[in-house]
């Protein structure tokens, strides 16, 4: 049976792509962010995942308003990164694992998640940059992937409660897969930030830190908030914390916090990073 080794949650921001391309990891602006990752590399070297199930949100690369899914799951042999219009370098394609994708799709639809299935799918910086941060030294991402995309573009968004349920069912689906594979769940987005409106630049350190802590000890804590409350508390893009929530929900039972980092700002964003290991 497949085993979920743990979860990694991290922010994603296009500017990270520019920083990587420009080798700015030790630049004073970027150092506090990039310095968060070596402990994650050590953990990955220890737990040796075969597959990454990546919970992320598309920013207008693969999906437009003509067909905007609440939840989409990829089932492609390979996922291409592509030009997003803001000039960050395109990263090499990602290998899929179609067998696990279809298993997850079958199980989730059985449990009444109304998925959109994608047998061809472009993945944007929210997918590509976290994987590059986790495996910085390899030309191509060394693990197979299953993309799970949650809508944060077009309201109504799925509630925090619904995203938690999705994550829980996703974890159960992975755990019921009958190949001996080691799976890491990766959630990318947040933490607090707001790009648009007169409140642009809003961040909320207190909430972010409380949210990060809650994932370890009280994982359903954030589900008490409506989407509008989350937007008020964390900003219009802070709502991307839904990816963290679904990721935590996918981890069965209790987790141990292996590592965490939090730094304001990168670009307009409060950057969070956390590694949670499943207690067996």
């Amino acid at each position: 049976m497949a085993k979920i080794v743990g979860g990694i949650t991290t922010s994603h921001v296009p500017a990270i792509g520019r920083a990587i391309a420009g080798n700015l990891q030790q630049d004073p602006y970027w150092k506090p962010f990039f310095d968060g990752f070596p402990p994650v590399h050590d953990w990955l070297a220890k737990v040796k995942p075969d597959i990454a199930v990546v919970v992320y949100n598309d920013h207008g690369l693969n999906f437009f308003l003509d067909k905007m899914p609440t939840f989409a799951v990829g089932a492609a042999p390979e996922y291409q990164n592509a030009d997003e219009g803001w000039g960050i370098p395109t990263l090499p394609p990602y290998a899929g694992n179609q067998a696990l994708s279809w298993h997850v799709i079958n199980e989730l639809v059985e449990k009444e998640f109304d998925l959109t299935t994608c047998q061809e799918m472009l993945v944007d910086h929210a997918f590509s940059l976290p994987l590059k941060l986790l495996w910085p030294n390899e030309e191509r991402c060394p693990v197979q992937t299953v993309p799970v995309c949650i809508n944060t573009v077009q309201y109504p968004l799925p509630s925090a409660k619904r995203c938690f349920k999705l994550g829980k069912a996703l974890g159960e689906a992975i755990a019921s897969w009958d190949e001996d594979l080691r799976v890491v769940v990766i959630g990318t987005g947040g933490l607090s930030h707001q790009l648009d409106g007169k409140r642009a630049g809003f961040v909320n350190k207190d909430f972010d830190l409380a949210f990060m802590e809650s994932l370890i000890n009280d994982p359903e804590w954030a589900t008490k908030y409506s989407i509008e409350e989350l937007v008020e508390l964390t900003g219009t893009q802070g709502v991307e914390l839904l990816m963290w929530l679904a990721t935590r929900a996918a981890l069965p039972g209790k987790v141990r916090k292996v590592h965490a980092n939090y730094h304001i700002p990168i670009s307009n964003t409060a950057a969070g990073l956390m590694v949670m290991e499943c207690a067996d």
């Binding site: 500017a15 219009g85 007169k198 509008e228 008020e232 307009n268």
Partner: protein
């Protein structure tokens, strides 16, 4: 248009809901097209013709012409698609932040640094 649920008011913030999405469809479709370098070049060769091709209304074309960020949002623009328009102009999200808050970019950046203390 009537609606049953009352919208929550969040200061300085408008969520991209059905009303805005309906209003901004043409504008967002144009900005979505900027994922392609060819389309970006075509826009830059003749902005007016490109706006016409995507059926922007006058308000939308005017806020595009004036690089008016708050105006683009009010015209139904979604920030994820608008960021691709900003990319053409060589602007990043901190430039957009400064433009929306009436700060200089340095002031905007300093505000963010201060929020992290």
């Amino acid at each position: 248009m009537s609606s049953v649920r009352q919208k929550r008011e969040i200061p300085g913030t408008a969520v991209f809901d059905g009303d805005l999405a309906q209003k901004g469809y043409a504008l967002n479709k144009m900005c979505f097209s900027f994922n392609s370098a060819d389309n970006r070049a075509e826009f830059q060769r003749d902005e007016h013709a490109y706006c016409r091709k995507y059926g922007l209304n006058e308000e939308q074309e005017s806020v595009i012409r004036n690089r008016d960020v708050l105006g683009l949002l009010a015209a139904g623009g979604n920030v994820y698609y608008l960021a691709k328009f900003a990319g053409i102009l060589g602007l990043d999200v901190q430039d957009l932040g400064a433009a929306q808050t009436g700060m200089t970019k340095d002031e905007f950046k300093a505000m963010l640094v201060a929020a992290g203390k």
